[in-house]
Amino acid sequence: MFEFFRDLDRRWVFLAMLLAVAVPILAGARFPEEPSQMVRSVFHAIDNLPEGSRVLMALDYDPASEGELHPMAAAFTRQCALKNHKMYFMTLWPPGPVMIQKQINMLQREFPDYEYGIDYVNMGFRPGYEGPIKLIVTDLKRAISADVHGTSLDQIPLTRDLKNIQQMDMIINVSAGYPGAKEWVLYAATPYGIPTVAGTTGVQSPLLMPYIPNQLTGMLGAIKAAAEYEQMLIDEYPQLKDNRQAQEALRRMGPQLVAHVFLIVLILIGNTIFFIERRRSR
């Protein structure tokens, strides 16, 4: 037994990991979620805004982290639409426009009364890493002169009278790294006091904790927070209960649980081998 584990080819570990994730997906395993304090504070920060507030939806992620972040972006978008907030979509990541388009497709499908140019606008991608943030905090139209359809922002009702993003009631940022939540905190939230919430990848979440709550109102960290957020959204807005698209993160918590437990077992086995070997060598 000892020799078996000690000399185990790592491909067996890979296969076991694959099964740990695949089997719960195939079985459709799901677990109840209880929103944490942080998730509640993010939810209420958006929900307590007066109806029709201006919200900047900065979706800074790409397909590589879509599995983690799309559920958060969708939950934020749904919540804003349910509260009739005005949404301004933009991204600092080249593949980001497609991520925005997915949210817009969802809006068109689930909120057909939501009108482009009146209730939401898609300002698309801007290169320059933190450069566009630094510019739009004082002059939006110099950085983004037109929306994704090429229409000047001066001709769109939602952006006609908008000078800069200091006029936003909130920034909602879904972030996969650089440029992302940290840059929004550095160049928009801290110097201009714009209330900001973030949804981030697991890798990024611990790094952003020092900004909460003074510089960042709250944060959804990784898929677990997304699942809790989806649950909270369903609890508060029961019309979403039968919407399966609104439960993506809840669905993912099945494989998540098995994989986490599997990883702990792996570490324990690895350490057992280590201690047995150490004792034998003495």
């Binding site: 990991m17 001709q155 697991g202 898929i223 993912r252």
Partner: protein, 307 residues
């Protein structure tokens, strides 16, 4: 044939067999093969002078017999290509192989061109050409440009700097590209100097100035809130002591630094846990694509009800 190749061949044959059986089962159940994509035709009437614009949107397979819904060959090939790409990357787990290398090469080429195309249409066309050649852009690429907009000559500067930057590709005169690079580096340094000091230094210290004894509304001590604040203040202090290498880590400083590294270990442990969570979520999303959109063995979004 050596053992490894034999295992490979067996796996390939097995996988192929499972695929065939799955496709056969799906066909016998629903009259269509798994991975098939259907689209809904959308006709937009744009007035008497222009022909209507026809676009296609993906729709759920359950609606395939509805009017305006048709089979999409390009998207069906797409789903199979995406599945093949996914498996090709996964094949690296077995070991480096030509299929993985091929996928990697395609990825590098596509992603470089992708960023270039996006940068061109969004920034170079809209913000550079839109400011330098507004009339031409209004007639061609940007009809929504405001009619009052005229040429803004200051944008000639980034045009020149941009051309100088591309000079780097030329066989000689590499120094020319240093000018735009210096502009880039100087601007980055300028904005970061202030922002990091404000947000990550001054504001972080400000955030750490917390009451060490927290009183509740009725004047009693909130024990755990106080403990929390004390831990944060002490934790930041000891962690900074650990990073402070100008003083030798002996005696009291050494003891504090030791507590500091323990605290940092808790931080790294938390980071590890969160990283695992992130990676598993990404893997789950990929497998869900394979099982749902390609193989049709699960249907979490009920896209194929009645099939």
């Amino acid at each position: 044939m050596n053992r490894e190749n034999l295992i490979w061949l067996t796996l390939m044959l097995l996988g192929g067999g499972v695929l065939l059986v799955n496709a056969g089962v799906k066909y016998s159940q629903s009259g269509t093969v798994n991975g098939t994509v259907y689209v809904q035709e959308i006709v937009a009437d744009t007035g008497p002078d222009t022909p209507p614009i026809v676009t296609y949107e993906r729709t759920i397979a359950s609606l395939r017999n509805e009017p305006g819904v048709s089979f999409s060959l390009s998207r069906t090939i797409g789903v199979w290509a995406a599945a093949l790409c996914t498996l090709a990357v996964f094949s690296f787990l077995w070991g480096d192989n030509p299929l993985y290398k091929l996928a990697e090469s395609v990825f590098v080429g596509v992603s470089a061109a992708y960023a270039m195309v996006v940068g061109f249409w969004t920034e170079i066309v809209q913000n550079l050409l839109g400011n330098l050649l507004p009339d031409l852009m209004r007639r061609t690429l940007l009809p929504g440009l405001q009619s009052t907009k005229t040429t803004e000559w200051e944008y000639i500067v980034p045009l020149i700097l941009g051309v100088m930057m591309l000079w780097r590709l030329a066989p000689s005169g590499g120094w020319i590209a240093r000018w735009p690079l210096a502009f880039f580096i100087g601007a980055t340094a300028g904005i970061r100097l202030i922002s990091y000091l404000e947000s990550d230094f001054v504001q972080q210290i400000n955030n750490t100035i917390l009451p060490l004894v927290v009183l509740t509304a009725d004047g009693t001590v909130d024990v755990w809130w106080s403990v929390k604040n004390v831990t944060i203040v002490f934790g930041v202090f000891v962690s900074l002591v650990y990073f402070f290498f100008s003083v030798e880590h002996t005696g009291t400083v050494g003891a504090l630094a030791r507590i500091g590294i323990w605290l940092l270990m808790i931080t790294f442990g938390a980071s590890f846990g969160y990283t695992v969570m992130g990676r598993v979520a990404l893997l789950a999303a990929r497998l869900e694509f394979l099982f749902d959109e390609w193989l049709w063995v699960i249907d979490p979004l009920q896209r194929r009800l009645g099939l």
